[in-house]
Symmetry: D2
Subunit: 440 residues, 4 copies
């Protein structure tokens, strides 16, 4: 291992330079102290850098190996490498001036020969994180445990046909949850990467759903026991690595949480790329989660609409982000959640500074979108026509129907005998699309 | 209108001819009285011909008009045309010897100038149906109302921004439900063809979900009021005609039914083509519906895996049907449900007999699949390996975990302190696929 | 028929109002006389209104009927209706101040009882168009014949298994081509809407490709014979209405044109929605067509990335349009081609002015994109890094390789014996994405 | 490294046991000496085991690591591991009794510190292969070079922006081609795994296509120079690992081969999973390749229709295979090509015998399909209706049109003046689907 210090060419924290700034490593829109709807921009966006993509992923894909050759990933002493990685990580957090980070247990600390050793490694790195966080701005948005990479989890963790694997997973999660608690994490995430199936020929879906319900319930109980105040977050994803994942999308997760009576303690961590893999827009998933009361946090990234796998690209698509932020702001913004960069630079982006360009570009795109969304809300650009469109339901008859004060027969009588002949009104889609374009 | 009698070239009811039969209008596998798992094949499969595709669709698509030129669709007297259509319909039912049919209100009877007139038309045709059914074998699997074709429903029926449209829909549904009841229908279907949105820019999803919940609740109340014993069925479909439909898939519908407390009265009508549009296999949707206790009935058809719209082809794909029937039989088969041919002949299949070939071919494919599924179940081809795979969860510790008698901490202690190191076991997918091939 | 004059609420031509304009019926970016790269914006963009979507489509979809209720589509006298439609069409062209329009034969004039009558109808309406064009600004970008809507074409026109259908199509195309020529059309389009197949079970692809090659060759010969100077344009589309269309995408069309030796006379008319249905970005198809020398014209619209059919929405997506225009400008812009609005307002957009809002919004989005693309080219934002990236191929060895002056053995020797060990360089994708965001 | 001998539990070559055989490791349909259309079944199917999936892939995916723990992949002496792998490989070939195998350079022999060392390693393993082949039945279907896994190829090999990478690739290909020649390989494959792009922002498509054309031309020249008689095969794939691959599908490859004048020496290696990723059926790609004269060989596998990436599953889908073999037989069968199992067992299939079950099951499915396809051809089940459908084109007028003896004007005159009114005939799709079901 030869970790040259410094890893990045620049040592200067990226700063706001204004819209006309020509420096690629300055923000044009992200002005952290700018007040939007009564809150600092930084407190709205709550950016988090993720450990796995930015510090751990070597640049491989199913058809090729490592491209990045990160110095901290080549060596014999796993714990020394983990410490070197932490140094670079905190340098990255500082350069980007982000308020949060996130990690899986195995991102931070190497797995040991036994689970006991793995837990010890994790706690040792957590000590290091605590030290570093004492003098850094960065806080922990959430922690999580990786229950999908090791071969023991190849057929799932909680949904594994072997209860011993469930038990092993419990061991990992307790440790990760407690470390998250110790580090002041604001949420705890459970991503069911392999909680699904490869083929129905060998799968008992009913059993597996019950196992998953039980597992999440156990974590909820433990969270209360140790006094962890943040919500648990499950993360909708339809497929990949498995053919089908039980946490398919927001609607599916909602049904699951209701079925196992988990709505009080568990919210959702929604990702753009997962949304489109499930056939939904990002805006759809956010709006639905708010409607169902399960909106928690976001993995901010972008998928390629023409590819069928999780590309996890950095979000640069301002018009789409505007609509996402419009919903978020309309719903009151984040509480414990934030914007976690579950995004990876392309495997050809092999220069250290590519990591900076990617984060800076995406933070700026988000900031640009936040400003536009705020302006749209202020002007009632979409909200005013919306209220007008549904005005009938706020009238007396509309409210009576929704309140259950009309029977089917009563309504039918009014329609049939009353000669009702409602006329459609324009949906004005193109007009509204033009309106949005005015703000982007 | 010039309805030549007879419409079909043959007047002979299609009969079982055995696997070696060379006649294209005989069944090779569908032997209605053959006993499978203690029940007649006809009572297992419960085939229904649908009115809309087979009697009403003129062969048009978004880029071209009518191709079929059905005689009963060209004329000035709408009610006379409807009666002529009914004649051909019952002839078709007789030729195919099917036990059931299904229809929308507007398939059977023309819309009038007012809703009152439409209801009167429907009741007049229902009288005709009653007469015909008195001397025919065919019964009504389910009825339904078309709440999506008329321009008044362009922005939804129950989810329309205008409560008057909701009310109008109530008028149609009451009539259709009561006619279904009168004709002895075994279920009543609510397909939310436009209960969704075209753009989120003009959509309040929370309001619309609440409207939809209210509407279905009203129908449930009315069903009890009039003594209709069959279940209501909602039908998952992810999109088309709308960009997004609220009844996206089985999991989504389950969450909806739970949210609005409708699980006791409403089940699902699952369709293969809708399943794949949602990113699921047919087998998945059936297995999940059974796991969640919402399995009701099937729209049997087939989509094209390479096309992104609802092609509604006749199901001819035996290997896939085998897996579907394996789940159905494993779950005990249909109660009030059946196999409704929500399938349309291609628009180039313009000969009257193409209607017969399509139904006969698909009935045979289903029968072939039923037999194979039964053989697989008898042999435990898939069920035995499945039981073995999950055996651990039937052991003492597995049951204790699922019953809530283990805390996360207790499990974690066992994993960490006990040095647990569970070893993965082969999922044997290729072996199981080969096994299935032995039965097809 | 009751065509109230005027159809649109406004009688004023839409004008440029500047970026801060608040009027929804003014252009904020489209300033037709603004000079971009030495040419008026109007001469760059060459907008055309299409007859079929904007004047003929009644708002139906596969699950519902007419929503628009256009007055000129309800009546008994087909030719009178066609004339009324032309009045509204030319009013629309005037209001939008577009330089071009486009039409199919059957959009403009009704089909007669015989082909002879159809041709006569077309010529009569062409007379009317000539009159109107004499005093209007609008010119004809291209004409075409509809060879896909009538049931005679259900199995294709040129690729029909019946040579009489091929012959009938020849009759239609001759008339449409000659009318296009008479009206000064700058191109002639052949869209093979049903030149493909529904099932391979009844298809001889080799025969059909040869038939199609022959048909296009015949049109080429006739074009020369009558002195029509513009190119023929074929239009890539992968599917819909057919399961597979022979003009799948740009690459497929190129191979077809080469196979039948048509490259000199035929270019491509590329559409965004068709591109994404084929799995390509719009930018990809444009760049590829330019690389292969077959770039002709564009159908400007937008598909929904999450839907699998041709939604033909108005293009409002500025960031994507910027990349398209960047390629177009880089390649020198249009010659005979232009931007044809092959886009339809949503079926819920039932107000006459929705037609205006849609066109104005999309024209503005294109103008905004043109300006940004021009700025990017001026700054070399993408072109400078590109040149640098491939600089090696402009060196001596690179040129020698491409010129065929190096054998495989010679290169291999240099690699093996020379100990060649080329090092990868960053692809800088995220940086470039950020750069593009600066211009949008 | 601890390669226990034997790796597989069985030492007995898998034999034909007949349709009723209950042994999972016997063939029910694959009877290698059975004569079908005058040729032994083995000579029809020409099965090849591939080295990479079956011997080299460790079971990893983008979300998890190795699951298989093959003994020959854990050790320090790379060449010793390669030899141990070869032992298991030839044992697998013997057990399956396959006539062919295939490999990439890096599958067989480890990369060295320099290209020179890599080439030496390859030649040493080729020596070992020669020895083993002397006493084995197995022959080499084709060899190839891996130009996509190493980071030097991250931006392509022939299409790399750096000509030195092109040159390095030339070094690898010369060695692999010469080894293939030495071992009696019947074809040589060039798969352009990274010959495409990740983003158009940094891509000059025209340059890259020219580079690729040059590269293939160089290999053609070298093939002739060394006297290699077999064809080169390029392999259509639309995407993955890259966003877009230049060898998108059969039609695209055809256009490429024509553009660079390579049709005489290069054919296509078509894969089912690649076909569906491009939006085509396997049958389509085969039929098209035959129509265009570029049919070469097949990678036999199966993708998951609901997943957007290359799952490379073993082909078990008999009905689809029947249609593929129907085309292959109709076209005269393979010449130098064959059926290469470019298929990998699922990562949960961790038992050694899973490798056997997968191959045996798929070989049997292919054999079953070959028999059915032959029966269909013998009966003219599809070919007779096909000939009838296009009979008009074999008539005098049809032939005159195709031969260029009719002008557009002449045809148009006949249509217009002759009052032509061709009537459509049924496409009979459902009938034909039923017919196919009789043979499966």
């Amino acid at each position: 291992m030869n970790v040259q210090a410094p890893f990045f060419q620049t040592g200067a924290t990226v700063a706001y330079g204004g819209p006309e700034s020509r420096s690629p490593l300055s923000f044009r829109w992200y002005d952290k102290d700018r007040i939007v709807r009564g809150k600092r921009m930084e407190d709205h966006l709550r950016f988090a850098v993720c450990y796995w993509h930015s510090l751990c992923w070597p640049g491989g894909d199913p058809f090729g190996g490592e491209t990045f050759l990160r110095p901290w990933q080549h060596g014999d002493d796993a714990m020394a490498m983990a410490r070197a990685k932490a140094d670079v990580a905190f340098e990255l957090f500082r350069l980007l001036d982000v308020p949060f980070f996130t990690f899986h247990d195995v991102d931070a600390a190497p797995e040991g020969a036994t689970l006991k050793e793995s837990v010890a490694n994790l706690n040792a790195i957590a000590d290091l994180f605590e030290q570093k966080m004492a003098s850094a701005k960065v806080r922990l948005l959430w922690g999580t445990a990786n229950l999908f990479s090791h071969r023991r989890y190849m057929a799932g963790a909680a949904t594994n046909p072997d209860p011993d694997v469930f038990t092993y997973a419990a061991g990992q999660v307790r440790a990760a949850l407690e470390v998250t608690h110790r580090l002041g994490g604001q949420n705890y995430v459970l991503w069911g990467g392999r909680e699904g199936y490869e083929t129905l020929l060998n799968t008992d879906m009913k059993r597996e759903l019950d196992q998953l319900g039980r597992f999440v319930s156990l974590v909820v109980e433990h969270k209360h026991k140790i006094g962890f105040k943040g919500p648990l977050l499950i993360e909708p994803k339809p497929k990949e690595p498995t053919k089908h994942q039980y946490d398919f999308d927001v609607a599916t997760c909602y049904g699951f949480l209701r079925r196992y009576d988990l709505l009080d303690d568990v919210k959702l961590n929604i990702e753009q790329n997962h949304a489109i893999l499930a056939g939904h827009s990002f805006q759809h998933e956010i709006m639905l989660a708010q409607a169902l009361g399960v909106f928690g946090s976001l993995d901010i990234n972008r998928g390629d609409d023409l590819l069928g796998w999780d590309t996890d690209q950095f979000a640069m698509n301002v018009p789409e982000l505007v609509l996402a932020f419009h919903e978020i702001l309309k719903g009151g913004g984040f509480t414990t959640g934030g914007l976690n960069f579950d995004a990876k630079i392309r495997r050809q982006s092999i220069d250290p500074d590519d990591l900076l360009h990617a984060h800076v570009g995406s933070m700026d795109a988000c900031a640009r979108a936040l400003i536009a969304a705020d302006e749209m809300l202020e002007a009632g650009a979409l909200t005013a026509p919306l209220a007008q469109r549904y005005a009938g339901w706020d009238g007396e008859e509309g409210r009576a129907i929704l309140a259950g004060r009309r029977s089917l027969a009563a309504l039918a009588d009014r329609a049939v005998e009353g000669g009702l002949d409602p006329q459609p009104r324009s949906g004005r889609q193109e007009y509204l699309e033009s309106v949005v374009n005015r703000y982007v």
